[in-house]
Amino acid sequence: MSDDVLRIRTPIGIKYQYSAGPRVSSHLHGLMDGRFVGKRCPTCHLVYMPPRNGTCAKCGCLLGEDVEVGQRGTITTFCIVNVPFLGQTIKIPYVAATILLDGADMGMSHLIQEVEAADVRMGMRVEPVWRPRDEWQPSMENVLYFRPTGEPDAAFESYAGQL
């Protein structure tokens, strides 16, 4: 009985050819140059960074011109990750935050490092730490993480609309 079949492997997978499309691709070209390039909605003028699928969630229209936003930004909200999980590469506790880059109207998610988790706060000013240039891909992973700039915190009113 000991050699009875007790388990089976049932792997499942789908192979896609993913196409980013021209609007998201201008953002990806920016990342290849170490720049954050978003897009402005021609109707409501909100700046999307990253530019999502190329359309404005509010207006439904196609996003228009490229807008390069700042390298620095403000933490609008964050969470401290305390839960270990399979494949985790960062020592817990660590902080995942929503960052509003200067000039953007949408927060983006990224990792916060070089600061104790307990010291991270809403309004904290942060800047990106880029990978070595020869490792750059068309990916937000070109930024290893964000770290505090040491500037005074942003006023709550400056990002209150993001919450």
């Binding site: 009875d4 079949v5 007790l6 388990r7 089976i8 492997r9 049932t10 792997p11 499942i12 997978g13 789908i14 192979k15 896609y16 050819q17 993913y18 196409s19 980013a20 499309g21 021209p22 998201v24 691709s25 201008s26 990806l28 070209h29 891909q137 068309p138």
Partner: protein
Amino acid sequence: MSGGTTEYTIVEDGSFTAPLELSYPYKRTVGPVLSRFLTGLRDHRIEGTVGSDGRVHVPPAEFDPVTGAALTEWAPVASTGTIVTWSWQPSPVEGNTLQHPFAWALIALDGADTNLLHAIDAGSPEVLSTGMRVQARWAAEPSGSISDIECFELAERATGAAS
């Protein structure tokens, strides 16, 4: 879960495109009923469970479709049967036991009261019709899975020695 890619290309309009594979390497225990069924297949033996109404279920039902009670009585069935219905698969995909065009079919094995979905190696859809007799072709290397029946083949053409 795994995913991601670094092999990208840039197409005419400047858009990025890249292969993206999303896959899950599932592995699962099969429980006592499927364990007996799959162990049987490995040994070139096909068995089904007997329901409260006397029907023989192949593949085996773990619970009686009428009463919901766990099924424990078994009955051997033949490795020969009849095509109940079929559909031609002109383009096999990765993981199919046959890598040339074949038919998917519901097969009523002799002695079973339910149908088994499996592949038929018929060469061409022109030779197939409902009601034809088929017999199992066993895989050269048993793996303890439904693929231990590599496929079925038309009985009058069968070359392998089916039990």
